[in-house]
């Protein structure tokens, strides 16, 4: 013991010093914690007041039969509202509509955005103009977009019908908004028009973050355009695509304004989404308890999706990004 210590002075010397440093560091961290919390208070308060309290209130209200007038609800019905959800053909159809919109977005809207992003990443005359043009719809409010398209698809004097008439196909349609079997696809079309620019910009940014060396190297190795895309660009765009898909799905689940103004969910509920149904029950039929149950169902669906998506799909993108207090130093 004595021998080793004298023979190895370094170890003897550093031992206590190191543990001292750790102790000091821990103490500093403890001291740091209070100011951090103090600065968080306003944000936490706002978060609690504007996010947590309404969620809790909605969850509470969803257990009552309540018309929304005066004070707090009193007619407790337990889980009746949720049981009713599972047998409500309108709500079940909402789920189906949501799924269709999600699948179509993933299959049509996002590839379209990706294609345009790659195209606009090429050397191209007026590239900036195209970028602005494609992004412009995203800047418009949803309400204005919807009003615009009610005019475009107006059955008699709408632009869509005028164009069809020019091509001698005036009777083909343009009553698509009035047809329960087509209306959901019109909604999807308008959604795509509105949001593809946003996803395009995401992809464009992602693409520009890929170092030119990699594509050059691929070219030198003799890779063709498709091979470069398949084996270099696409994998490196992975994180962007996963985020974009996530936003698109959450957006589809919450879709409201656009549908409300464009179709009010009609005809005969054919384009109704969960949020529209919630509004109908809450503010048209004054069944606030049931409407709250719908909002809670929406919340749970989105939450489960978000957690599962992060756990299984985005795991590799966020590895190491998850921080705990002081975790970065470990």
């Amino acid at each position: 013991m004595l021998l080793t210590s004298s023979a190895d002075p370094d170890r003897v010397g550093t031992g206590p010093v190191r543990s001292d440093a750790v102790r000091r560091q821990r103490a500093r961290r403890r001291r740091v914690r209070w100011p951090v919390l103090a600065f968080l208070v306003p944000a936490l308060l706002l978060f609690g007041l504007l996010v947590l309290v309404p969620i809790i209130l909605a969850a509470y209200t969803s257990l009552f039969k309540w018309n929304g007038f005066g004070g707090l609800p009193t007619n407790f019905v337990g889980l009746d509202n949720f049981r009713r959800l599972l047998t409500d053909p309108i709500f079940l159809a909402d789920l189906w509509h949501g799924l269709i919109l999600i699948v179509l977005s993933a299959a049509v809207q996002l590839p379209l955005a990706l294609g345009l992003a790659l195209l606009l990443n090429q050397r191209l005359r007026g590239r900036g103009v195209y970028r602005v043009l494609f992004f412009a719809p995203y800047v418009l409010s949803e309400v204005i977009t919807a009003v615009l398209f009610t005019m475009v698809f107006s059955p008699n004097r709408g632009l869509a019908n005028q164009v069809l008439r020019v091509f001698g196909a005036g009777d083909v349609g343009a009553t698509w908004l009035a047809d329960p079997s087509t209306v959901l696809y019109v909604v999807f079309l308008v959604m795509t028009w509105k949001y593809f620019g946003f996803h395009m910009i995401l992809y464009l940014t992602g693409r520009q973050n890929i170092p030119a060396e990699l594509t050059e190297a691929a070219a030198i190795d003799g890779a063709g355009d498709w091979q470069t895309f398949r084996h270099v660009t696409l994998p490196l765009l992975g994180p962007t695509i996963r985020v974009s898909l996530f936003l698109s799905v959450i957006g589809s689940i919450q879709l409201f304004d656009l549908v409300w103004v464009l179709t009010v969910g009609g005809p005969v509920h054919a384009s109704e989404t969960m949020a529209v149904t919630m509004f109908q029950y809450g503010f048209r039929r004054y069944e606030v308890g049931y409407a709250s149950a719908i909002s809670i169902a929406m919340f749970v669906i989105s939450l489960v999706f978000a957690l599962a998506y992060q756990r299984f799909v985005m795991r590799r993108d966020i590895e190491g990004a998850l921080t705990t207090m002081g975790g970065g130093q470990r």
Binding site: V51, P54, I55, L57, A58, T61, N67, F69, G70, G71, R84, M151, S154, P155, N156, R157, G158, A174, T175, L177, A178, D179, P180, V243, F246, L247, I250, I253, Q254, T263, V264, G266, P267, V268, M278, F279, Q280, G282, F283, R284, R285, Y286, E287, Y290, A291, S292, S295, I296, M298, F299, S302, L303, A306, Y309, Q310, M314, D317, I318, A321, L322
Partner: protein
């Protein structure tokens, strides 16, 4: 992670925010001795917007200690905003009401002042049918300022072109007229299928003509709609729908849009519409030339159904009135009394946008169409309030929804009555 967590929270906020829209009402009376009356009405366009503003000014001039604060709101915005402030328990001092089921809910929640004591002495100044929607459990909770009815507005020229000599007075006659119009290449009926409420007029009127007013009252009272009269109403409506009488794309059409029901009539592109007393003015406003079809427009009451118990003289419609919030200062009632003085009713009637309810004001009506409505109403032997107002909102909306499904060919007459009965029991 950053992005996703934020959007997650955003979602949480979005799904709950519908319930979190806080109350945004203002206080009643100030401490400086001046009383403020908060008045919400739905005449957010002229002519009535200006008429109300002028009347408020007149009142303020006579009562210097009172300020009338007007908030004009669009119909649907009014409904949403009123719901949120009443959830907070503080309704405006004076606000628009249509009586019936919604008013009843507000009364049950203790949000509305009982006006029985203040208006009993004035009861005789109103036309008899007009106060009915606001009388609940033999108490007065609202005061009318207009009352109208629904009927067929038709284009005389198009009827003539199809060889229809006089407007039909039976359901069979109406179906015949539709056939003749179709044969002449004319769109018989304009309908705002997207809005749903215009469709429910047909079903309600048919139920009235087939079963009489008592059937509708009874159904509302015992929440049972699965009765033969209502099924028969659906069956008759289906006869009409099967003739495909409506304009192209009617299922998505709204009432007031540039390609909607009123515009289709106003542009002379359809021969008739079933609509309330406001129809002529909306036709004019939405038509391309802003003038509508002028004196080609005529009015006839909803026809009788052969073998039915209801009379053609029974009217279906509704009116506009005002209710007083529970915390309203006393000046509110003074102001309300002022609004329904006969001279002020005349000013409103003169605009052509209001069918007056105070006796003696009808001489101010200039528009012949409004005069026709007023005359039919004055001679009416019974009155039924719009179903989506007479019944609790959940039932009324279900009527609208289910009848819309029937018109779209997605529900049978039996399914309609079942769905409405179910809604009444939820």
């Amino acid at each position: 992670m950053h992005v996703s967590r934020r959007s997650l929270l955003g979602l949480a906020g979005a799904s709950a925010s519908a319930l979190a829209l806080g109350a945004c009402g203002d206080g009643g009376s100030g401490k400086d001795g001046k009383t403020t009356v908060n008045w919400w009405h739905i005449s957010n366009t002229d002519p009535m917007l200006s008429v109300w503003a002028a009347l408020a000014k007149d009142f303020e001039a006579k009562h210097p200690d009172v300020t009338i604060k007007i908030t004009p709101l669009e119909n649907e915005a009014f409904k949403s905003k009123l719901t949120t402030v009443t959830q907070g328990g503080s309704p405006p001092d004076l606000f628009s009401t249509w009586g019936g089921g919604v008013l009843k809910q507000q009364v049950d929640a203790g949000l509305v002042k009982d006006l029985t004591a203040d208006f009993t002495s004035l009861a005789d100044t109103f036309t008899p049918l007009s106060t009915q929607p606001y009388r609940l459990d033999n108490k007065v909770y609202g005061v009318p300022f207009d009352l109208g009815m629904v009927g067929f507005w038709y284009n005389k020229e198009l009827f003539g072109r199809a060889g229809i000599a006089s407007p039909p007075d039976t359901w069979t006659g109406l179906l015949d007229a539709v056939r003749k119009l179709k044969a002449a290449g004319i769109t018989p009926i304009a309908l705002a299928g997207g809005d749903k409420w215009p469709g429910h007029y047909y079903w309600a009127y048919l139920a009235m003509r087939i079963g009489g007013l008592d059937v509708l009252k009874q159904a509302g009272a015992d929440a049972k709609f699965d009765k033969p009269e209502f099924v028969a109403a659906g069956t008759k409506l289906k006869e009409l729908v099967d003739l495909a009488p409506f304009q192209k794309g009617f299922l998505a059409a709204t009432y007031g849009s540039p390609d909607g029901q009123a515009a289709t009539m106003g542009n002379g592109a359809a021969a008739m519409e079933l609509m309330g007393q406001w129809a002529p003015s909306v036709q004019n406003d939405t038509s391309t030339n802003k003038k509508g079809i002028g004196d080609k427009l005529g009015f006839f009451p909803f026809p009788a159904v052969e073998g039915g118990k209801g009379a053609v003289t029974e009217a279906f419609g509704g009116g506009n009135g005002f209710a007083v919030g529970r915390n309203a200062p006393p000046a509110t009632i003074e102001f309300l009394k002022f609004l329904v003085q006969v001279d002020n009713q005349r000013k409103a009637a003169a605009t052509g946008a209001v069918v007056p309810v105070v006796k003696g004001a009808e001489d101010a009506i200039k528009d012949p169409n409004i005069a026709a409505v007023q005359k039919t109403l004055a001679a009416a032997t019974g009155f039924q309030l719009f179903l989506d107002q007479a019944y609790p909102p959940a039932v009324g909306q279900q009527v609208n929804d289910s009848v819309a499904e029937l018109i779209a060919g997605k529900a049978s007459p039996q399914q309609v009555v079942r769905a409405v009965t179910d809604a009444a029991h939820k």
